[in-house]
């Protein structure tokens, strides 16, 4: 009877373990499946295309060139390898500038009329570049499709412009977002680690039970405060403070985000590290003291090395919190998608981008895929951090204790 009971318990444990692992693997699979969909696609919105006059010698344009043309930074075709002819922009709704309302009556139901009118405009204007629905193209004898380079790994990681909703071509350059994320979370962990570890050591080894019984619940309470509240606190208090101290034009900077993130990561680091330090067996500590080591020497040479794997866990959890935090960062870093040159500039992080933009991205669209690809990057960063920290701490433990 007892054996069957044990077998059942064992089965349940195994099952729950398998299910959890499978779920995690499925989530990762889903993330990467959606993210990879971005690559190899044309950066124009589905169902739309860019066309020019048939006699225009230009066949191919890069996304940067198209953006600059439509932003009116490039005015002449000879700047992109064409004839000396000024560029005329045309969007579907511009049709009403070329024809009167009467001439276009019923255009939204009459496909042939629309097609012929667009074709007429393209035929009449040699320097035109038109952003139109791709349905009209096959029947248009006077227009020529422009070939746009597909999104590749190079333009994704190396691109410095993040304009996911720009028309006619969207730009997905994650370099500024990646840098923003790394800067903000790296500084956050640099601030949080010394403070967190110091507090953990103090609470575990030095503080009297009375102080500890007050400190511990207060610190744990910090972990329970919603991140929006931290963000709001940052916006009202830290942002003006940073602005005044450094005499900046704007207080929403990477540093502001790092400070808020550091405060948010503290409770995690302190709680986990403190538990690890308290887990050091009394006998080991007493042996050290008996050999004549002072309390500080015992903490430094015995307790911390003994608890290093737990402290590592605290660090990983802290970094995880810093890299993945969304709302608070979204509110205080300014979210400008530019490559940062100093920590005192506005930055945009990957989680903030996903949070701000996923709501508007239609399922299956380019933008949606791009946001999932961002998720993949975040996942890979966290994985690398975890592996590195584990490797380092593994070496440490062996060296110090054996």
């Amino acid at each position: 009877m007892k054996k069957i009971f044990e077998k059942v318990i064992e089965g349940i444990l195994m099952l729950s373990g398998t299910v959890t692992t499978l779920t995690v693997l499925l989530i990762i699979f889903f993330l990467f499946k959606e993210g990879i969909g971005l690559f190899g696609k044309s950066p124009t919105e589905e169902g739309f295309t860019v066309a020019v006059n048939r006699e225009n010698p230009v066949n191919e344009l890069s996304t940067d060139q198209i953006k600059n043309i439509f932003d009116q930074n490039i005015h002449n075709w000879n700047e992109v390898g064409g004839n000396n002819d000024s560029i005329i922009l045309f969007r579907m709704d511009d049709l009403f500038n070329y024809y009167t309302e009467e001439e276009l009556a019923g255009i939204d139901t009459n496909m042939n009329l629309l097609t012929s009118k667009i074709d007429e405009v393209i035929d009449k204007n040699k320097g035109i570049i038109a952003f139109i629905s791709s349905k009209e193209i096959p029947q248009n004898p006077n227009s020529k499709l422009i070939h746009i380079k597909a999104i590749g790994l190079g333009s994704f990681f190396g691109g410095k412009e993040w304009f996911p909703t720009a028309q006619p071509v969207a730009q997905f350059g994650v370099y500024p977002l990646l840098m923003g994320t790394l800067w903000v979370s790296l500084l956050a962990i640099l601030i949080a680690l010394p403070f967190g570890l110091a507090t953990a050591v103090y609470m575990a080894e030095i503080a009297s039970p009375g102080v500890r019984s007050v400190l511990k619940p207060v610190i744990e309470l910090l972990a329970g405060i919603p991140s929006v509240v931290y963000g709001f606190f940052g916006l009202i208090v830290v942002v003006p403070l940073v602005q005044q101290i450094f005499a900046l034009p704007v207080g929403e900077t990477g540093l502001t985000g790092s400070i808020i993130l550091a405060i948010m990561a503290l409770p995690t680091i302190i709680t986990v590290a403190e538990d690890a330090i308290r887990g050091t067996p009394r006998s080991v500590k007493e042996a050290s003291l008996a050999l004549g080591a002072s309390q500080w020497q015992t903490i430094y040479r015995i307790t911390i090395p003994y608890a290093s794997s737990g402290i590592t866990a605290a660090v990983i959890l802290g970094i995880g919190r810093a890299i993945g935090e969304t709302m608070a960062v979204l509110m205080v870093t300014g979210n400008a998608a530019v490559v940062p040159h100093s920590i005192l500039e506005p930055m945009r992080t990957i989680p903030a981008t996903i949070a701000a933009e996923l709501g508007e991205a239609a399922k299956g669209s380019l933008h949606y895929d791009a946001l999932f690809a961002l998720g993949c990057i975040l996942f890979i960063i966290t994985m690398i951090v975890n592996l590195t920290v584990q490797m380092i701490s593994g070496k440490r433990t062996r060296n110090k204790l054996r």
Partner: protein, 271 residues
Amino acid sequence: MKKIIISIIALVVLLSTTQAQKIKGSDTVLPLAQKEAELFMMKNKSARITVTGGGSGVGISSLIDNTTDIAMSSRKMKLSEKMKANASGSTAQEIVIALDALAVIVHPANKVSKLTREQLEGIYTGKIKNWNEVGGDNMTIVVYGRESSSGTYDFFKEHVLDNKNYAASILSMPATGAIVQSVSQTKGAIGYVGLAYIEKNVKAVSVSFDLGKTFVKPSFANAKNKTYPIVRPLFFYHMSTTANLVKPFINFVLSKEGQAIVLAEGYITIK
């Protein structure tokens, strides 16, 4: 237990017989539509209206897919969207229910109190970087805007930036309230918000859309008499086949009572 079941069944029957309609779309129109729907339902006990946001584009694509009865929108339907909607045979009907003006705000200590459209375009596309280029002090311009999911983002881009892309260096804020807060505490800041959001701790600038000949201050009166240029209509769209279902509510919104709510919510009435 029986009572609960009976009441649930009664509720279901009641719901299915009453006129249920769904409204979806622009987050700008959302608070207004919610207030209108609440009052309409109070007056017509049989009416059931659910209002959800999501953005103008979401509302219009739901209208095309037939998953909503009315689409709220803070921009006109695009030609391509109209074509898709009309493909099913019935046509999309457009009703202007209110107007909304966008104001450009700066820090109260800023000397600049008027800007032309061209200057605004320069500032938001990153070509003008210092206030002394537009008649102010020697101070870096800190540009605030909304996230790209916002209809206001699109409207400002189309109407003020002449369809050019925003500069990448713009600080994008998750909400209009955050723009007001940031502008009020940043000396070199500039931002755009709905007229209803203007507070004492920020300064609204006059704008000119005729190359600097006339500058108009953003106010309800100027928006109403059409001298203020950055005004956008707010739309309801519905398909012609559902006209009978949605007409009572739309008529209510356009009525004196409905327009009073428009005013109370900080928008501009159409008449």
